[in-house]
């Protein structure tokens, strides 16, 4: 099954629940097979199947709730003042990996998904644009804001530690 592990990982990050993630992945494969005629040969298969998964998630109860929780100003994370200890300087051990995971969990879903597609799935801006059905300019600005938001969350966590 193509991309099974990656889709499952992505589904878990979206739903934050393994049972829901399993349902989501299963439904995605079922829809992909049913709707294979809508896939245009020569276009990006990965972006296509991720798009199915994401759209299925967004119409689920959890997905509707998650996208409804995005506040209007969530897109604009403030610029951070530079401190001596930046989140980047401390990413070494597992405990810090856990901190990044918690920070990712805390992000609004549209920031979390774009970071995962870009960094974990190593998708290009073009692929992300196809997956999320948004223009490349929006991919760049949203990705940039998502990174800032993650840095901000991490910095807040570092202050608490």
């Amino acid at each position: 099954m193509p991309l099974f592990d990656q889709l499952y990982n992505f589904a878990c990050w979206l739903t934050q629940d393994r049972t829901e993630a399993e349902d989501l992945v299963q439904e995605t494969y079922a829809k992909a097979l049913r709707g294979f005629s809508s896939f245009q040969s020569g276009t990006n298969f990965r972006a296509w199947i991720y798009r199915i998964l994401r759209n299925t998630f967004l119409t689920s109860r959890t997905g509707l709730k998650a996208s409804a929780m995005v506040s209007l100003d969530a897109e604009d994370a403030d610029e951070l003042p530079a401190g001596p200890e930046t989140p980047e300087t401390v990413f070494i051990s597992n405990s810090e990996q856990q901190m990044v995971q918690e920070a990712l969990e805390a992000l609004p879903v549209h920031f979390r998904e774009i970071l995962l597609l870009s960094e974990t799935e190593e998708m290009s801006y073009q692929e992300i644009s196809e997956t999320l059905s948004i223009p490349i300019g929006t991919v760049m600005s949203r990705l940039s804001r998502a990174r800032k938001a993650l840095r901000k969350t991490l910095q807040q966590k570092l202050v608490k530690v």
Partner: protein, 248 residues
């Protein structure tokens, strides 16, 4: 924000045009501030990448989905599915081919890194951090030092002895290196978490290869990746691997 600062993000994402990339490379050679910024952003990307690889599907779920997919054509008209399946197979073949190329490269890198670790152990006067031939001493020593647990085989063959163990890092992931001796030869067994290895991860199937220097055998089991390396014959290596397979 000047021109360069604004482009660093696209630069580390590999999204600048070839000409812009060359300009940025030239600029970074002369600007420590931008170089430091680019480096920080690369580290940040890596941190997210590794944190993002978090969830692995259960084996029975994989099986369930596989079955549901293979059962589907029998329930509906097969002739509708045949062309679609053929196209899907072609696509999958394309994805798999490029994936295999990536994996081959990743495996080569993994091999080189592990060979370095193995040579370091061979050359070092103190090759291990915990010196013991008793698996009940070596195994608990790793507790709390690495983020997973593993089992060590009971050695019944008098030709094989456990020398000890130490912490090893592969692609920044911590793991265990166990050193054994078979006759006069030293053998390293590396154990890492499969998901922590990310892009270095080898395929699910067991893999054995002979290089100019060492023989190398790897496989994955219960979420852990095992690598056995030494200068003895493939048969001895397989013997060692079987001991772990039957224990893990």
């Amino acid at each position: 924000m000047d021109k360069w600062t604004g482009q660093i993000e696209a630069y580390v994402d590999g999204e600048l045009s070839a000409a812009e990339m060359r300009d940025m490379d030239a600029h970074l050679r002369t600007c420590p501030a931008c170089t430091a910024d680019a480096l920080k952003q690369v580290q940040f990307k890596r941190a997210i990448q590794s944190a993002g690889r978090r969830y692995t599907p259960r084996a029975d779920f994989r099986q369930k989905v596989r079955q549901s997919i293979s059962a589907r054509p029998r329930r509906s008209a097969v002739w509708i599915w045949l062309p679609a399946t053929a196209v899907l197979l072609l696509l999958v073949a394309g994805v798999v081919t490029s994936h295999i190329k990536d994996q081959r490269l990743a495996l080569q890198n993994t091999y080189s890194e592990l060979a370095d670790l193995h040579v370091t152990a061979l050359a070092s006067p103190n090759p291990v951090d915990v010196v013991s031939s008793d698996r009940h001493t070596v195994k608990p020593w790793f507790e709390g030092k690495i983020p997973f647990a593993f089992n060590l085989p009971e050695l019944q063959n008098p030709e094989i002895t456990l020398v000890g163990g130490r912490i090893a890092y592969l692609g920044q992931a911590p793991g265990a290196e166990l050193i054994y001796r078979i006759r006069k030869h030293q053998i390293s067994v590396f154990i890492f978490q499969e998901r922590a290895l990310g892009h270095l991860r080898q395929s699910d199937s067991a893999m054995q290869r002979q290089q100019e220097t060492f023989n190398f055998l790897s496989w994955s089991q219960n979420g852990l990746s095992y690598f056995v390396m030494g200068d003895m014959s493939g048969g001895d290596l397989s013997k060692m691997a079987d001991l772990f397979r039957n224990t893990g």
